[in-house]
């Protein structure tokens, strides 16, 4: 079975994040991307535009000393949407994070992701980690 191009792209973006290659990662997002972070912690809220999004990514990496690691359990894609079941782990000041997120991406007219939203299997653990 041939893989959908959206699946290949998602896998490449995850690999770029894991090796800290944010320059490559930028290519996957539209200029006007909207990134929703749920929960009630310090990073919760909406990030609008690629600059805000990448400032958020930098912050996540800074707060965790670059320990945040993404491990996809499954990647699904169509022309319009990508969905990833994503194991996210990391450490911060002696605290550890180990959750699985259901992640949804909308694909814009130029083929790049222009909206993202997600929910963790254990949202309380996510809130505690980032608070």
């Amino acid at each position: 079975m041939t893989e959908h191009p959206g699946v290949e792209g998602a896998r490449a973006s995850i690999e770029a994040f894991n090796r800290g290659d944010l320059a490559t990662l930028r290519e996957f997002y539209a200029d006007d991307v909207v990134w929703h972070v749920g929960g009630t912690h310090g990073l919760s809220g909406d990030y609008r535009g690629r600059e805000e999004l990448f400032a958020y990514f930098e912050k996540v990496r800074d707060l965790t000393g670059g320990t945040i690691t993404l491990e996809p359990e499954a990647i699904l894609s169509s022309e319009d949407h990508t969905a990833i079941f994503m194991k996210v782990s990391g450490e911060r000041d002696g605290r550890t994070l180990d959750v699985t997120l259901a992640e949804a991406f909308a694909i814009g007219p130029d083929g790049r992701w222009n909206e993202f939203w997600s929910l963790a299997d254990d949202q309380d653990a996510v809130d505690a980690f980032w608070s």
């Binding site: 699904l76 169509s78 949407h81 259901a102 949804a104 929910l119 299997d121």
Partner: protein, 131 residues
């Protein structure tokens, strides 16, 4: 949209739901299903088992006064995962809701839904409507 057999199962499940055939709809859920909803409203939290999921839908029905319109926009599936993107509209007492929800499922070996994540693109709008 995916033409995977699990995507077909989801389309049939939605048809049952729209026809208010809750028994037929719930036949797709594992008895010990875990149903997660983010945000900060009456639907928020983790429901365990079919009875609690039924209660979740009852709350949904009460709050929308049965006014909701649900449109499947996209279905992504593999052998163990299913994600449906739904356009959901509802009205109550002059308040209106218009969101895109990604409902992500892990599937058991028999194809029934064992875990769910219910993710709206605009959590604040859902919180305002259901609070």
């Amino acid at each position: 949209m995916s033409d995977h057999p699990n995507a077909l199962r989801m389309r049939r499940a939605i048809e049952k739901f729209m026809a208010r055939d809750m028994e037929g709809f719930l036949a797709n859920f594992a008895d010990d299903v875990v149903w997660r909803t983010g945000g900060d409203n009456e639907l928020t939290g983790v429901r365990r088992g079919k009875d609690e999921v039924v209660q979740w839908f009852r709350t949904w029905d009460e709050k929308t006064g049965g006014s909701h319109v649900i449109e499947p926009l996209d279905v992504l599936a593999d052998d163990a995962h299913l994600v449906v993107f739904l356009g959901i509209k509802a009205e109550r007492d002059g308040a209106s809701l218009d969101v895109k929800v990604a409902n992500a499922f892990r599937l058991g070996p028999d194809g029934r839904f064992t875990e769910s994540w219910w993710l709206p693109d605009d959590q604040a709008a859902v919180d305002a409507f259901f609070s």
